[in-house]
């Protein structure tokens, strides 16, 4: 104790010169935020800038030609294979995000408005499956949807179908189902948080003024929870466009997505500039789609009122 106290006094005495600087709010905040910020800059921002740079170059076997060219983007946007993969990825991530949000809204509403004292238990219950191995959850869906899978053998056993269906696995719908399951928690939490902030007295007021439950929901609850719906939509839409594991395991030939092509360019095909251009294109296009969806949603919410 005494040694520590003495150490502190010595420390304090030795420091007066630096004190004014450290006492400034701004300087302290900046000093504190700089380690994580530098980390993000060095390992995220710089690498993304490097990827963008590469997307304007070309590669001949192992040498990179640094002459500026838009050739990679021409390939990424006009070659049928990449164009189809990109469109399919956009379609899948759009469907998944809309479906996830639509399925998540009632449950978030239920927890927020009817959860009572079990609210945190419900939330815990819903987040648990999300924390189990992603790979294994996708694997599980393969087991469920497969030719000899759980769904087929169950339906056969019940006599609903005569022979196993092959339509369940290895297509875009299998990818959509799996991703909708995988991202559920990401949609529920933001919607729940925004529903919690809805002032309950406003709903009472709407009811007192003669609005039925549907009208008061459409005119009070839904518009007020829109921020949560929007962040849920974005938090599902943007990451799912680049999902790699799900299309690889349950997508088959008809469910391949753009990430599988990106991986190939950085792996076997060894064409970094093309891989970079595909990555940049994906990011830009998905951002545009997300922005358009948000705009549309806001317009729709205004119309509903």
């Amino acid at each position: 104790m005494t040694a520590a106290a003495e150490g502190e006094i010595a420390y304090r005495k030795a420091r007066p010169g630096s004190k004014p600087l450290l006492q400034s709010e701004t300087a302290r905040g900046l000093a504190l935020v700089s380690p994580p910020l530098l980390y993000a800059l060095v390992l995220l921002v710089v690498p993304i800038l490097v990827v963008i740079a590469h997307s304007f170059w070309t590669q001949n076997y192992l040498t990179i030609d640094r002459t500026f060219t838009l050739e990679q983007y021409r390939i990424a946007l006009t070659e049928p294979i990449y164009r189809d993969l990109l469109l399919r990825s956009l379609f899948i991530s759009f469907s998944v995000s809309v479906l996830t949000v639509a399925l998540a809204y009632p449950i978030a509403y239920y927890i927020s408005f009817r959860g009572g004292r079990y609210k945190s238990l419900w939330l815990f219950l819903i987040t648990i499956p999300f924390w189990t191995s992603y790979l294994l959850r996708v694997m599980s869906w393969k087991v469920i949807l497969g030719y000899n899978g759980v769904l087929n053998s169950g339906l056969l056993g019940l006599g609903i179908i005569d022979e196993p269906s092959t339509a369940l696995l290895y297509n875009s719908s299998a990818v959509i189902i799996t991703l909708t399951h995988a991202w559920a928690a990401f949609a529920i939490l933001p919607i729940f948080v925004s529903l919690e902030k809805v002032d309950r007295t406003l709903i009472e007021a709407a009811t007192d003024l003669g609005d039925g439950p549907i009208r008061s929901f459409l005119r009070v609850t839904l518009p007020l929870s829109m921020p949560g719906v929007i962040s849920a939509l974005l938090i599902v839409m943007i990451p799912t466009v680049g999902d790699y594991v799900t299309p690889k395991l349950v997508g088959g030939k008809d469910g391949v997505m753009i990430s599988n092509a990106i991986q190939a360019q950085f792996g076997k095909a060894l064409n970094w500039p093309l891989g970079a251009a595909l990555s940049v294109t994906t990011m830009v296009v998905v951002t545009a789609m997300a922005a358009a969806s948000v705009l549309l949603l806001k317009l729709a919410a205004r119309r509903a009122r």
Binding site: G29, P35, Y39, L189, I238, P239
Partner: protein, 270 residues
Amino acid sequence: MKRLLERWLPAYAILYVIFLYLPVLLLPVFSINASAVPKFPLTGYTLKWYEELPRTQALLDAAWNSLVVGVASAMLATVLGICAARAITRYRFPGRGTAHGLIMAPLVLPEIIVAVSMLLVLLRLGLSLSLFTVVLGHILICIPYSVSVLTAAFEGFDASLEEASADLGETAWGTFRRVTLPMVAPAIISSLLVSFTISLDDFIIAFFLGGTDATLPIYIWGQLRFAAKLPSVLALGTLLLVGSFALLTIAEILRRRAERRTQAPGVSLA
């Protein structure tokens, strides 16, 4: 209408939870099923798939790698997370919003983009891929979760306690160590556990940045190619499931204790 809602909403909630849990619960069911093919009807009870696990050297190596990577990533991400959460909740400085956004960015970026960008830089720098590069990537994707858990704790923190400590002659560091830190300790442990779980579960970063060093998800990915290996993978998956469940329950209990201690109502991702 109102009646209908009252009746159907709970039913929907229960169905939804079943939808969430069904795929997860199939793992333990088929991991103790005698048949090597996972389908109904079940053929009998066995533990042979579990008995195989400790005899597989590649699996033990992968588990050890995952443990090392997980512990290193969780500790470093939490240290950086503490800095970020503290700076954002306690101080006002120019560029605070931008800094926050940048630090949280990995949460809303496709993970493959994060992985590929880092891979490109590492390869261009001529660095060899190893567990170390996996840790670098995992820290990056764990920080946002760590920050969101810790921000909740720091926000609910009563600043007058720190002022009191400063008034009584404690230095800034002393106040932080002896007042702030003990108050947010449960959130810190929660952040460590959540980060560890994310690292343990991550496939994409380990796949791109791991080189020849395999973590558990990479080992599992390799096994998925062989249909005959499926039951052992399911057994391994069940063990991981139980492990993550235990860790997250502890994290949740600690988070709630922290919440009560700092009196901050709110929700975190954990």
